[in-house]
Symmetry: C2
DNA sequence: CGTACAATTGCGAATATTCGCGGAGGGAAC
DNA sequence: GTTCCCTCCGCGAATATTCGCAATTGTACG
């Protein structure tokens, strides 16, 4: 993965400092892929990079990266999970409250929402990575019957 | 506020039990209005209802009420806040990451998103009360200049 | 109205997340 | 390359949130 360069540029962009800790957290999340909890990242960092890092530093690095929109936080059923954001390929989740299944949502729909918000209010919504809860079709039918 | 009847019906609906604790938490949130933290609700319950209640019970009642879509949870800058949901009058927030200001968003825009999701996937999105982060117009212009 | 059963509460302990502080180190200016 | 300032890190403590378990209590049923 061509991460180093991207990350460096990103971190520098917001007036934030480029520190090894942030690079390590970013690298861990990029290589792990998908949604990862803080605990998972903490373990990955310790195992795969040789040296451990205090948990609080992982939290702080993630907070900073989140401000830069380099990572997104998603509330995955109680514990929060983080994912590296690929802004060129946004993706979103539909999470069913009934059965817990999760499917992806066409990003175009959310982009349309973003455009509408911008047109109506001048506000630019950050819609890189969203989780929308609701009820899937089969659960809805099951609930209607009961 | 005509709360008692509504709340009773809501609580019974999901196969959940109607307990005094849940009624008290619901009542506190309804009468307080707006977004409230757990700590605020805990204090309100103790003061205005005479008897205190363990914090963990407040958390659990809120979790249950959230499942029933009677309350919504919003991440208000680190600590989470809860609000009573009036499903007949959904409202949403645009929160600027730059200056922190917050404004309401026309619910029709989100309703359109919900309709689109339903048409495309059969999934019914719960869009009663949403917070969307982004950048307001003035902060955007300020950022562009820098 | 009494009984039985399962959901719920209260309590305290476990876990998750944030914070404050003093020292260390990034990076802009010379 | 050196200096200085200011942000950031590591650490431990403070907070916030969840969990386990025994006792309680809604609710369905007879």
């Amino acid at each position: 993965m061509s991460c180093e360069g991207e990350t460096v540029a990103l971190l520098r962009s917001g007036g934030h400092r480029l520190t090894p800790q942030r690079q390590r957290v970013a690298s861990a999340l990029q290589h792990a892929g998908g949604h990862r909890t803080v605990e998972e990242l903490h373990a990955l960092i310790a195992h795969e990079q040789g040296a451990p890092m205090p948990l609080s530093t992982v939290y702080r690095a993630l907070t900073t990266l989140k401000e830069l929109r380099a990572v997104s936080e998603i509330d995955a059923g109680g514990r929060s999970a983080f994912a590296w954001v690929d802004r060129s390929r946004p993706h979103h989740h539909l999470v069913c409250r009934g059965c817990g299944t999760e499917r992806d949502l066409d990003p175009a729909l959310l982009q349309r929402l973003g455009d509408a918000i911008r047109a109506a209010t001048g506000f630019e919504a950050f819609l890189d990575h969203f989780a929308i809860t609701g009820q899937c079709e089969s659960c809805r039918q099951g609930a209607a019957r009961a």
